[in-house]
Assembly symmetry: C2
Homo-oligomer: 323 residues x 2
Amino acid sequence: MKLPPFDEFIDKLKHFDRKMLSKAFTLNESTLEIHNDLFDSILNALKPVEDQSLVIGITGIPGVGKSTFIESFGSYLHQLGKKIAVFAIDPSSQNTQGSILGDKTRMEQLSRLPNVFIRPSPSSNQLGGLGLNTHKNIALAKAIGFDIILVETVGVGQSETMVKELCDLFLLLMMPGSGDELQGVKKGIMEMANLLIVHKADGELIEAAEKSKKELEAALHYTRDHSDENAVFLYSSLTQKNADAIWNWIERWILNRKKNLDFYKNRKKQDEFWFDYEWKQLLIKHISETHRDTLNDLQSEITKGNFISRKQIIERILYQSYL
Amino acid sequence: MKLPPFDEFIDKLKHFDRKMLSKAFTLNESTLEIHNDLFDSILNALKPVEDQSLVIGITGIPGVGKSTFIESFGSYLHQLGKKIAVFAIDPSSQNTQGSILGDKTRMEQLSRLPNVFIRPSPSSNQLGGLGLNTHKNIALAKAIGFDIILVETVGVGQSETMVKELCDLFLLLMMPGSGDELQGVKKGIMEMANLLIVHKADGELIEAAEKSKKELEAALHYTRDHSDENAVFLYSSLTQKNADAIWNWIERWILNRKKNLDFYKNRKKQDEFWFDYEWKQLLIKHISETHRDTLNDLQSEITKGNFISRKQIIERILYQSYL
């Protein structure tokens, strides 16, 4: 990877240079320590005094139109003068048919707007593999000064939990339709969401969408504690209907969260989560590399049929390293 | 936990004493090192010269009747004189509403038969928490001499991958019904399965079941490489219809796998998987306990807003331990 001198790199990143952003994120997602080091230095050099960015997580079942929503609502936010970065979390990308954002034709219009950057989900042919460093990508996007950072989930499996640990506000997209459709969304996910949006509320689906909205509001009324205000909106990606109302609601919600300090408490809790996640990943990577012989020895003894207890495994690793 | 003297403990386990089996598995699932040590000693003491057991993984979407199938087909196997152990893998048990096997009324008949042992899925109020040591439970069941070890998945999320790494044969239960229902099963799961069984093939559902069988056979024909023979059967848990045919097929399939050595290659690969899994778990647990201060220091610096790079994190942990 060809890189400019450090100061020039930083300067270009501050000016939202698409090519440099791409390179920076690739450094983070790389499995090479030297790349990660450089990324961390960049992140450190960029660290702003005050962080004005807002991270919005977006989930919903496959087919609900997450990319379409991001393209449409993102364009609306862009018109308001916001600088926007889009990421995807896909911890299961090894197993899914296609990468969710890798398809270059998606969000094509949004991706061409100035001060908008869309990071495709790392796929297996890229350096990063599983995209497990997305939290660092988001930290860089914050440091550079993106106003709005949208994080899309694949909407299946465990990606929602990861995104919840990354975002200030968690948005669930729903299909217009009857109770049956609502059940496609796992109970836990609905409880995680701060904002529910019934998508595709246009044309023939308007009535169904309105019915869904009422059902969701009723459901929220019963299942939620009322410590957090939450809301249900209709949205159409075709007409951008309700974009104003949704954005106003988000602004008020965030302001309120900042006032009562929940916003900052949540970010602190997230820092703790990611530190815990990170040291474990780093330690395993380090021991895998430095203790390869011990691990191979243990492995081959076990496959030969020798019994090795848990205590012996950890002692053998520790003995080699005087841990 | 009250335990008998070691030799008596071993002897009772060899005689499939239900109470002692329960205690042994609890030692394994415990988070206390001293319990795990004792379990490992028991496992070492029991290790048989030859392992004649067969591990069958069973999956399928919720509602397909996995427990009912195990109760019915397990009773059939018991009539053949087989000693049977049943486990459940539920890595997501924290989040699901109820434990799958914890409900004592399930598999009630099967659980009362001699030489049958059903291990409920560890729930959070038990020592083990998430049941991540199931592979060791299965090792003990093999060492004690259970002939058939059935491992049930919850059928959602990632439990299938774990079970695949535990079993000699992977069985997928399907609902009778049209193509729509078939799509509820993730593509990857169907490809993992060695044996497909259309369940509830009785009464009004017989026709639908037969149709499903034909569709599955057609689907297998196109999606599978033919390196492994595989089959689709109908089954009724009410009538035990086809139990003979299914068991005969399994016996022939396993015999064939043993002849071409795939059976042993698979077990070796599984040993490698679980060793890799195990040392990582053990290492993280060890460092969490022994390096608590360093980790807390790092944590509090980060939450104060100080920047700490990945390199610094690992160096701080290593410095403390001269790793």
